[in-house]
C-alpha cells in the first residue's frame, strides 16, 4: 500500500468508527439547508437545555445497557421522583398544597429525598435481576407497571386528589428554569447539571473499579465471575446509580415544567434506550461511551427540535423520526458489516 492509500484507509476507518458524529453533523447541515435561521444561539441553547435531563436519564440507562441489562422502568421512576419532589417543593403560600403544613424546604432536601426513593427502586431492580435471575426486560417491565401504581397512589391523595402538583417554590423553579447570563443570552443551569453528571459518570466508567467491572459484566459475565468480580453486587450498584440519576432528572423535570403528574416521564425510557444505541451503546452489553451517549441524545433532540422548528406536520414528524432512528443505526452498523 502506498502511504497515500494508507492514509485514505486510515481516514476511512476513522470515519467508520465515528460515523455517528458524522451523522450528527449531516443532520444539522440538512436542517440548516431547509431553514437557515435554524443556526442561532437561542436554538442551540434550547436544544442543549432540552437535552439535559434526557442526557442524565440516558447515562443511567446506558450503564445498565453496558451490563447487558435494560431498564423499562426509567420513565416511571422519573415520574415518581417528579411527583415526590414536587409535593415537597410547593411554595409556602401556594393554596393547593399537598402538605398544607409543610414549611418551604431548602430545595436540595426534596431532591435528595427523591433521589433516595428512586435509588432504592434501582436497588430493587438490581436485586431482582442479579439475585433472582429475572431477565432485565421483565424485571424492569414489572417495575415500570408497579412504580406507576405507587406514583399514582402517592399522587392521588387528599386534600386535592389527583391534581397536577404545581405551585413550586421560586427557589426551586429558578434552579431548574433560570441560568447564568452571558452577554445577551442566559445559559440555563440545566446544561451545567448535565455537564456535571456527565463528568461524574465518565469518571466512574473510566477511572474506577466499578466502571471496569461494569464493562466486564456486560462483555462476558462468565469471565467476569472467574475474574473475581462480584457480579450481583456490581449490577445492583449500577441499577442504583441509574435510579439516583432518574431521581435527579425527575426533580428537574418537575422544576422545568413547573408541575408534576403521575404521567410525567412516561415512555422516556424508550427514547433514552434508542438514544444510547444511536450513540453506539451495544444492547448486548460491554460497549458504550459517555460522549457516544451524549451524541445519541443530541441527535434525538435535534431531530425533535429540528422537525418542530421546520414546521413539519406532527404526524409526518413521527414518520420521519422513526425513519431517522433506523437510518442512523443502519449507518452505524456498516462499520461492523464491513468486516465480512
Amino acid at each position: 500500500m502506498s502511504t497515500q492509500a494508507m492514509k485514505n484507509s486510515k481516514i476511512t476507518k476513522w470515519l467508520f468508527d465515528h460515523v455517528i458524529y458524522v451523522f450528527l453533523i449531516l443532520l444539522v447541515i440538512g436542517i440548516v439547508i431547509a431553514s437557515p435561521d435554524f443556526l442561532s444561539v437561542t436554538n442551540l441553547i434550547n436544544i442543549l437545555s432540552q437535552s439535559s435531563s434526557r442526557i442524565i436519564i440516558a447515562l443511567g440507562i446506558a450503564g445498565i445497557l453496558i451490563t447487558a441489562g435494560t431498564d423499562l422502568s426509567a420513565g416511571r421512576m422519573v415520574g415518581l421522583a417528579a411527583v415526590v419532589s414536587a409535593s415537597l417543593l410547593q411554595a409556602g403560600d401556594y393554596a393547593y398544597k399537598m402538605y398544607p403544613n409543610l414549611p418551604e424546604l431548602p430545595f436540595f432536601v426534596p431532591i435528595i429525598i427523591a433521589m433516595v426513593v428512586t435509588g432504592l427502586f434501582g436497588i430493587l431492580n438490581g436485586v431482582i435481576v442479579s439475585k433472582f435471575h429475572v431477565p432485565p426486560f421483565i424485571a424492569t417491565l414489572g417495575m415500570m407497571i408497579s412504580v406507576y401504581g405507587i406514583t399514582s397512589i402517592y399522587f392521588d391523595r387528599p386534600p386535592y386528589g389527583a391534581q397536577p402538583i404545581g405551585g413550586l417554590s421560586e427557589s426551586f423553579t429558578k434552579f431548574a428554569q433560570r441560568g447564568i447570563p452571558i452577554g445577551d443570552y442566559e445559559i440555563p443551569f440545566l446544561i451545567f447539571y448535565a455537564i456535571i453528571f456527565s463528568v461524574i459518570i465518565w469518571v466512574i466508567w473510566n477511572k474506577t473499579q466499578l466502571g471496569k467491572n461494569m464493562y466486564a459484566i456486560g462483555g462476558n459475565p462468565e469471565a467476569a465471575k472467574v475474574s473475581g468480580v462480584n457480579v450481583a453486587k456490581n449490577i445492583i450498584i449500577i441499577y442504583m446509580i441509574a435510579g439516583l440519576l432518574y431521581g435527579f432528572s425527575g426533580t428537574i423535570e418537575a422544576g422545568r415544567v413547573g408541575s408534576a403528574t403521575n404521567n410525567t416521564g412516561n415512555m422516556y425510557e424508550l427514547d433514552a434506550i434508542a438514544a444510547c444505541v444511536v450513540g453506539g451503546v451495544s444492547l448486548s452489553g460491554g460497549i458504550g461511551t459517555v460522549p457516544g451517549v451524549i451524541t445519541g441524545v443530541l441527535i434525538f433532540q435535534i431531530i425533535n427540535y429540528g422537525l418542530a422548528f421546520l414546521g413539519v406536520s406532527p404526524y409526518i414528524q413521527f414518520i420521519v423520526k422513526g425513519a431517522i432512528i433506523i437510518v442512523a443505526v443502519a449507518f452505524d452498523m456498516r462499520k461492523h458489516a464491513k468486516k465480512k
Binding site: 389527583a162 391534581q163 397536577p164 428554569q177 422545568r256 415544567v257 408541575s259 427540535y305 414546521g311 406532527p314
Partner: protein
C-alpha cells in the same frame, strides 16, 4: 390548510408576511381536540401563520415546543395545556418576551392567569362536563325510574369507567358527575370503578368482568368519554343487552359521531357536547388580535368574564336534541 394538521398552515400560502401565532394541542388525536384544531385552522386562514404542535400528552414536550415557538418568532401563543398546573412556566417564558398567551380548553388556576395581564382563557370549566353528565343522569333516572331501577331500591347502582388516572378531565368528570347526581337528591351506589385509560378495548374488557360479576345489578354505566362508553356498549351487546327489552343506560362525554349513532340506535342514552367550533374560533380570534397588538376582543362578539376568560358552554346531547350534535359535524 391540510387536514392532517400541517403545522405552518399559513406558510404555504405566502403567509410569511402574516403574523405568526404559535399553538400547542395537548394531544393531536384527541377526539375533541381534533375538532378544535380544525376550527382553529379554518379560522386562521389568511389571517395568521398558525404554527401547530402536538404535545403528545407530555407537558415537558409542550414546554419545549413553547421554547421552539418563541425561537421561531411567534407573536402570540395559543396553548392547550397538558397539565393545567404548568401554566406558570409558560407564562414566565411568554412574559420574558412580552408575548400574549391564550390558554384554551384546559383552564389554568385563575391566580396564575391574573399574574400576567396578557394571559387569557378560552373554554369551559373542566368540571362542567361532569356536572352536565350528572344532570343528564339524574334527569334520565327520574324520568325512567320504573325501568332503570331494576332492584327497586331507589338508588343508582352504577359502574364507572374512568380515563387515565390523574388526567384533569378524568378526575373532574368522575367527581362532578357523581356529586351532581347526589346533589339532586338521588342516592347512588358505586358497584365498581376502574380506569380504562380512555381506551375502548380496555373498557370492553372491564365491562366484561363487571357484567360477569354483577350481571343484573348494574343500573347505569358512566364513562368519562364516549370511546369508553362505546367499548362498554360492545360488551353489553355481547351479553345480550339492547335486544328485546334488555337495556342499559350508558352515558359518555364528547359527542363523537359514533356515539351519536349509538344514541340514535338507542344503545346509548346520552353524551355531552363541547362546542369545538366556537372554542377554536374564539381562540384564534383572540390570538390574532393579540398577535397584531390589538385589544383581544376587537372586532369580535366574545366577552371576557372577571377571570379574563371567554366561556364556551357544554351542551347535553340525547335523542331529543340529537341534531345539535350532528350539526357540530357539518
Amino acid at each position: 390548510s391540510s387536514s392532517t394538521g400541517g403545522s405552518d398552515s399559513g406558510k404555504n400560502k405566502g403567509g410569511d408576511k402574516l403574523p405568526a401565532v404559535g399553538a400547542t394541542i395537548y394531544k393531536f388525536d384527541d377526539n375533541f381536540m381534533s375538532y378544535v384544531r380544525r376550527a382553529m385552522e379554518a379560522a386562521s386562514e389568511g389571517k395568521i401563520n398558525l404554527m401547530l404542535n402536538d404535545s403528545q400528552n407530555d407537558q415537558a414536550k409542550q414546554i419545549e415546543q413553547v421554547d421552539t415557538l418563541i425561537a421561531k418568532g411567534a407573536k402570540s401563543l395559543a396553548i392547550n395545556l397538558v397539565d393545567p398546573k404548568a401554566a406558570q412556566t409558560i407564562i414566565d417564558k411568554a412574559k420574558a418576551k412580552d408575548i400574549p398567551v391564550i390558554f384554551f380548553n384546559k383552564e389554568p388556576d385563575s391566580s396564575v392567569l391574573q399574574g400576567y395581564e396578557k394571559a387569557y382563557y378560552v373554554g369551559t370549566t373542566s368540571s362542567e362536563s361532569g356536572v352536565i353528565q350528572g344532570e343528564m343522569i339524574a334527569k334520565a333516572w327520574e324520568a325512567n325510574i320504573e325501568k332503570y331501577d331494576k332492584n327497586g331500591d331507589g338508588k343508582i347502582q352504577y359502574v364507572l369507567l374512568k380515563g387515565e388516572p390523574g388526567h384533569p378531565d378524568a378526575e373532574a368528570r368522575t367527581t362532578f358527575a357523581v356529586n351532581t347526581i347526589k346533589e339532586k337528591g338521588i342516592e347512588v351506589e358505586e358497584l365498581a370503578m376502574d380506569t380504562a385509560m380512555w381506551d375502548a378495548t380496555k373498557a370492553t374488557e372491564k365491562m366484561d368482568a363487571w357484567i360477569a360479576k354483577f350481571n343484573e345489578q348494574i343500573e347505569f354505566v358512566i364513562a368519562n368519554n364516549d370511546g369508553m362508553a362505546l367499548g362498554a356498549i360492545a360488551s353489553l351487546e355481547k351479553a345480550g343487552y339492547f335486544s328485546g327489552d334488555k337495556f342499559m343506560p350508558v352515558v359518555g362525554v364528547d359527542a363523537i359521531p359514533e356515539a351519536l349513532d349509538m344514541i340514535e340506535k338507542s344503545k346509548m342514552f346520552g353524551t355531552v357536547l363541547n362546542d369545538a367550533t366556537n372554542q377554536g374560533k374564539a381562540t384564534i380570534d383572540l390570538a390574532t388580535n393579540a398577535a397584531n397588538g390589538k385589544d383581544v376582543l376587537e372586532g369580535t362578539d366574545w366577552t371576557l368574564d372577571d377571570s379574563r376568560a371567554v366561556r364556551v358552554p357544554y351542551v347535553e346531547v340525547t335523542i331529543d336534541n340529537i341534531q345539535v350534535g350532528k350539526d357540530a359535524y357539518k
